[in-house]
């Protein structure tokens, strides 16, 4: 799904002439204190003037069930007592047989790493990590085309981190979804997103390919945006006269360090 914002205005949030494009089947990160404004516009939770298009269809004619907005959990996130009730609450908007829906619930839970036993659990007995996984499972049950996920790893214990990271990548690569990640964490955005939009004072400061945006160190530093650790490390290393500019993952860097240190020792 491709999304276009065309000349969006909102008086309350002083949004003026907001134009941006979110590309189909990519992971787009949105950085900035008010990054949830974009999500609220997309889910029709904020009044605006202007046009938002989904694949050349005005958002007003679009089935909002095809969009899932997975927010940070707070005390208002869940409305029912049991995990299963929370799934059946979502079913109200979907025309589907009970038996098939149950299968869908179980596969959503398994996808995030929770088993069927959770269906009988009371929500108040879940840990924050489990509650967060439940919210992600609930967000995927409708098989949305667009998934907006806010701070995907907040409250998650480390053991779930790689699983959720893999789910996000699979949603894009295997299931052709369009994904928007709202986050303030530049390490995460650098690692996971294809494209990036940085908002400042509710206006677009810059948008484009993530790796390209993070190349402009001076610009980002001027705007008080933290550089990802991996870039800071590469810069520190380059001050020692060592070129790691082509290494892009932690494992490549480990390999680079080992080779470099061995070379030095053999000199």
């Amino acid at each position: 799904m491709e999304i276009k914002f065309m000349n969006i205005y909102n008086k309350k949030y002083k949004i003026k002439k907001l134009n941006l494009k979110i590309l189909n089947n990519k992971i787009t990160g949105i950085l900035g204190d008010t990054n949830n404004l974009i999500a609220n516009l997309l889910t029709n939770n904020l009044d605006y003037k202007g046009i938002i298009m989904f694949d050349n269809l005005n958002i007003l004619g679009y089935d909002l069930n095809k969009i899932s907005y997975i927010k940070k959990i707070d005390r208002n996130t869940f409305l029912t007592k049991l995990v299963s009730d929370e799934f059946y609450l979502k079913k109200k908007n979907i025309d589907i047989k009970d038996t098939i829906y149950l299968e869908k619930i179980i596969s959503s839970l398994r996808m995030v790493g929770l088993d069927d036993n959770y269906l009988k659990r009371e929500i108040r007995t879940l840990s924050k990590s489990e509650a967060r996984l439940l919210e992600i499972a609930l967000g995927l049950i409708k098989n949305p085309e667009l998934i907006i996920i806010e701070e995907p790893f907040l409250y998650l214990d480390n053991k779930y981190y790689y699983n959720i990271q893999k789910i996000i990548k699979d949603l894009k690569e295997k299931y052709d979804k369009t994904i928007i990640i709202l986050s303030q964490d530049t390490n995460l955005l650098y690692e996971l997103t294809d494209n990036l939009i940085i908002l400042s004072n509710n206006q677009v400061l810059v948008s484009g390919k993530t790796k390209v945006i993070f190349k402009d160190k001076e610009f980002l530093t001027n705007k008080n945006i933290n550089l990802p650790d991996i870039l800071l490390f590469k810069e520190l290393v380059s001050n020692k006269g060592i070129d790691f500019s082509n290494l892009n993952t932690i494992d490549e860097i480990v390999k680079g360090v080992v080779e470099n240190v061995q070379e030095n020792n053999s000199d």
């Binding site: 204190d33 959990i73 707070d74 005390r75 840990s127 924050k128 990590s129 489990e130 701070e151 790893f153 907040l154 409250y155 214990d157 480390n158 053991k159 981190y161 303030q184 964490d185 530049t186 390490n187 008080n224 933290n226 990802p228 650790d229 991996i230 800071l232 490390f233 520190l236 290393v237 020692k240 060592i242 932690i250 494992d251 860097i253 480990v254 360090v257 080992v258 240190v261 030095n264």
Partner: protein, 249 residues
């Protein structure tokens, strides 16, 4: 500074003991459900105990609770921790008004603390206009505005951006000299950077720190642990400059 002696709570904490020395920055690392929040509630008297917690020679019980609490600052990790007022300055003044600070003393304290934490430009701002990271920063500042002897931080650095996080940790660490003791309960290894001692809280039991894959490691800790496994370095580095310095002298 703080002693917890033979704490027993609902078969979770059994004969639990903890000693936090004066003017130290102590971190207790724990995953979800390890017992951090219950411990915070016990130390702050929200879960009542009798003569189990001793803070600055005051043993916490129903007769001493008010004096005890003047010596304690707490940031709890409830969802949506709410502010009571509209403006930053009003939030900062509130704990001091409760303690009966006269106006001049109150204003001086707000001035001094905002200067120290470099938030003077935020004082007249509306809280709803602050970023999440700055709100979290503000919660910590409010918790120590009444100059407590001990501050207990329960996942207080969560959702702070990296620069605010390191700024706050260093500022708190420097307050040790002025008599503040910090107890940081967290699941974030990055916040241990200045800690004098690190413990792990595992299923309501306290252990000394050792490498533990349950905690999300920052890039630099991950990198240095991988290099340690390959015997390129001999220790875990928490800081990028230290690791680069050790690799290329």
């Amino acid at each position: 500074m703080l002693s917890i002696n033979n704490l027993n709570y609902k078969n979770l904490y059994n004969d639990f003991n903890l000693e936090i020395p004066k003017n130290n920055f102590i971190t207790i690392l724990g995953t979800n459900r390890s017992g951090k929040t219950i411990l915070t509630k016990i130390i702050s008297g929200i879960i009542p105990t009798t003569d189990t917690c001793i803070l600055d020679n005051i043993s916490l019980n129903k007769n001493t609770v008010l004096t005890y609490l003047t010596k304690l600052g707490v940031v709890s990790n409830d969802f949506n921790q709410e502010f009571l007022f509209k403006k930053v300055k009003e939030e900062l003044a509130y704990p001091l008004l409760n303690l009966g600070y006269p106006e001049a003393k109150l204003n001086k304290r707000i001035k001094d603390i905002s200067k120290y934490f470099e938030i003077e430009d935020l004082l007249n701002k509306n809280i709803e206009d602050l970023s999440i990271s700055k709100r979290k920063l503000l919660l910590i500042i409010i918790s120590i505005i009444h100059e407590p002897r001990l501050v207990v931080l329960d996942d207080a650095f969560l959702e702070m951006n990296k620069s605010d996080k390191y700024f706050m940790i260093n500022k708190l660490n420097n307050l040790k000299k002025k008599g503040l003791t910090i107890l940081n309960l967290t699941s974030d290894i990055e916040t241990t950077i200045t800690s004098d001692k690190i413990y792990i809280l595992d299923n309501f039991n306290l252990e000394d720190y050792k490498e533990d894959s349950r905690f999300k490691e920052s890039f630099i800790i991950q990198l240095s642990n991988k290099l340690k496994e390959l015997e390129v370095t001999s220790q875990t580095y928490f800081n990028m400059e230290d690791l680069v310095g050790a690799l290329w002298k």
